[in-house]
């Protein structure tokens, strides 16, 4: 590798990064590079050996590594350069990157356009301030998943899982297959935080009890976890005295949320939305810093990989156009605004001129579950733009509202588009 200048550089090789690189190449970028700190391409999908990937994109139900492999093949076919076992240490607003690699040492790479696709990390024990002792045997669900599925080790035999996130539920099933006993899944909220499909396929089918409105009060054990003390909580999520129960176990898994990994983005000066913990983006996933795009879980936490791929495709196209000086700068901008019972919407803005050419998916999560038919309705200047009906709305399941080119007339001027999700 002699030339360290690329048209488009993608940081991270998960489904978001792979799609971005492919799309950048297909949209005219000559020299495209993917930088990945792991020793293989694929990102988090490599440890997701369960099925459930690709239902939207391929209309097939694939395990994570197979889903990734289809894109990795394209990366090779398109002669996209890759730098594995290489960690990006630093970025600058003018799109220079500093990487470290065992063979190359420290290298500086200049990018015509940059796509951040660093994914996310898991929320830890400290972030939820779990009291008690600090023994071995308290792991995030993703760490346990890596151990079991990639390294080939079982971290325990009797588990309690805190949090009803998807990774935790998927691990409950995986550990049961491996002969472990999963005593219980505890969830502090009154509703599931992951997908209903995972609750049915991973917990119900294996008789693993889920207790809503419950949490871990304390971890017990000096060297290794010996038990946890579980307790019920009230509406304010305070522990209800007298509800405590000791559950013997040797491992506590935490599936209590994911946080976009945006340290590099911050260094580059990218503005971060405090609600999503990801970048403010437009419909091409262009961030507040010109030439820097952001795609996948680093923008907001997705539930389905198919949407991550789509976001990567859009970001890669934007990056390729920017690198070629072809990214149109619009005179108009529409802001999206989270309305009734909507926590956030991505993208934060879009160019209405683009809407004339292609549909723009608006993706959002609800604040409170509604277990009844709902309307998802977009409103601009007091007028309904479009709406769709859903059988229910749950915080664990992302809602997508497609803005189609036929509504472009609603946006003759710059303005604000509000989305509300309410009972039908």
């Amino acid at each position: 590798m002699t030339n360290l200048h690329y048209d488009v550089v993608v940081v991270g090789s998960g489904p978001g990064g792979l799609a971005a690189a492919i799309s950048a190449r297909q949209n005219g970028a000559e020299k495209v590079l993917i930088i990945e700190r792991d020793i293989e391409l694929g990102g988090i999908l490599l440890q997701c050996i369960h099925n459930g990937f690709g239902v939207e994109v391929f209309k097939e139900d694939l395990p994570g590594p197979s889903y990734a492999q289809r894109f990795i093949q394209q990366v090779h076919d398109l002669k996209i350069d890759t730098l594995l076992d290489s960690m990006v240490l630093e970025t600058t607003p003018d799109r220079r990157l500093f990487i470290t690699n065992r063979k190359l040492g420290i290298r500086e790479i200049k990018a015509g356009a940059l796509v951040f696709a660093m994914g996310c990390r898991e929320r830890t024990r400290a972030q939820i301030r779990l009291p008690g002792s600090r023994p071995a045997g308290v792991y995030t669900a993703g760490t346990a998943q890596r151990w079991v599925n990639v390294e080939g080790y079982m971290p325990g035999k009797r588990f309690v899982i805190l949090g009803s996130g998807d990774i935790g539920m998927i691990m409950a099933r995986r550990l049961t297959f491996e002969g472990a006993k999963v005593e219980r899944v505890l969830e502090i909220m009154p509703y599931l935080s992951g997908l209903t499909r995972n609750y049915v396929q991973c917990l119900q089918d294996f008789d693993i009890p889920l207790q809503l409105n419950h949490t871990v009060k304390r971890i017990i054990g000096n060297n290794r976890v010996e038990a946890i003390e579980a307790a019920a909580v009230d509406e304010q999520r305070r522990i209800i005295p007298g509800s405590e129960e000791i559950i013997p176990c040797d491992t506590l898994l935490l599936s209590v949320g994911l946080i976009p990994e945006n340290e590099l983005s911050r260094q580059a000066g990218v503005r971060i939305d405090p609600v999503t913990a990801g970048a403010f983006v437009d419909s091409r996933f262009h961030t507040s810093v010109p030439g820097i795009f952001s795609a996948g879980n680093v923008v907001h936490v997705y539930d389905l990989v198919d949407w991550v791929t789509q976001a990567g495709l859009a970001a890669g196209k934007g990056a390729a156009l920017f690198a070629q000086g072809k990214l149109a700068v619009s005179d108009k901008v529409v802001r999206t605004q989270a309305g009734e019972n909507v926590r956030y919407i991505v993208p934060h803005t879009f160019d209405p001129n683009l809407l004339a050419e292609e549909a723009i998916p608006l993706q959002m999560r609800v604040k409170q579950p509604i277990e009844a038919p709902v309307w998802v309705e977009a409103v601009c200047n007091g007028k309904s733009v479009t709406r769709k009906a859903l059988p229910y709305a749950r915080p664990g399941e992302m809602v997508t509202l497609n803005l189609k080119p036929d509504v472009v007339d609603s946006f003759r001027e710059s303005g604000t588009l509000t989305v509300n999700i309410t009972e039908r």
Binding site: T100, R102, T124
Partner: protein
Amino acid sequence: MSETYDIIIIGGGVVGCMTARFLSRYKLSILLIEKEIDIGSVTSAANTALVHPGYDPVSGSLKAKMNVAAVPLWLNLSEELNFAYERCGDFVVAIGQEELPQLDELVERGKRNGVTGMSIVSGDEMRKREPLINPAVSGALFAETGAMCDPFGVTLAAAENAVMNGVTILRDTAFEDFIIQNKRIVGVKTNRGAFGCRWAINAAGLYSDVVMHKAGVRPEFKITPRKGEYLILDRADFELQSVYFPVPTEISKGIMATNSVHGNTILGPTAHDQDDKEDKTNSESGLQEVLEGGRKLIPCVDPRHVIAVFAGLRAAGNAPCETPGVDYGHDFIVEIPATIQGLVNLGGIESPGLSSSPAIALRVIDLLKDAGEKLVEKSDWNPIRPARPRFRHMTHAQRQAVIEKDERYGRVVCRCENVTEGEIVAEIHSPVPATTYDAIKRRTWLGTGRCQGGFDLPRVTHILARELGISETAVSKKGGDSTFLLRPTKQAEDDHD
């Protein structure tokens, strides 16, 4: 008795290791025994990490004398031993007019104790120096000799320098009893057999009472563990400029807010007595108390900033101060007791024990000389403990150079703190080798950032197994049965067939 030494030090905290390091200057054979799998893993690893100026301890107490005597030693020591030490000064912050008079009292006490470099700053000045401080600040005491350090790093550096100069350290080796002949200590019994000695030094921290009682010394002396709980906040959210104490109360120095040598803010400690010397658990109420206390000084603190919690136990004793006329019942013990020969007795070394540790070590040497011990200096004593490369603190050019020599420095294993494989391997093969995950964590600060080891844990487990020549299922967090992994998966077993 398998081996005989001139001196056996019982306990490898900062006091024991600092004593070993200063004694290693002399022609003596020295053994240090530590019951845990690693040195410095008890109180010396879990405290506020400050070198205090010395205005706080009761005037005339040994605490005050040791603290003030130690302050001038630290800068030179940090250069010789290459540990993290930053003399940023510290502030005692008065909130509201009613707390102001107490600052003058502290200044007076500081002067009596011999502290130099104290001044009173106005509320306005304080707000200027620390934009995050409670705007109701009415004034503050500034002491320029206050400093932050890495207390485990201090302990490790002292231990390594001792080993470089011939001291033997045995970990996972617990003192059980003395071997006494004719009122003279001639050896110690441990779980790994007996060792002979001419002198034993009790530096057992929380267990210093138990150890001295085995020699029949001070039967009335009792350590009451007093727990201090802490929160650590992510430096990505904000970084404090300095070290802030509230005005002290009768029982404790109060919940303080301090920067650390890592740049993360530390809030704490609480102060609650308990019976159990091993219980370092965090409680919901304790963490709440820290949060509320911390907000008194830094109102913007939010639970979302928290990246880690921990607790430490103060070895609070009940030894009366020996200075005539000083009425104080919780002083340090640094003595050679008259009732038995061959014992140097250190007890009740609670705060400011870290700050005082170099002075305590020098005092031990004086006591030995007074007892007739002829201490002959080694001609080849090396006071320098070299620093090992720390990728995080290097420029890109320095990084390039170290990777060219050893490519393992090019692979980052801890993504939040940027710790490389090269650094981990170096710690496993250092003078006081790291053999567990926690030992690596304390030495490199790996796993202490935002993701708290979620990313590095499987990778470090792998490196430890490889370098130590053990199975991954034998790798532990802190020795004993604290292993991470139970067995290979069924699938992996099939793969091996």
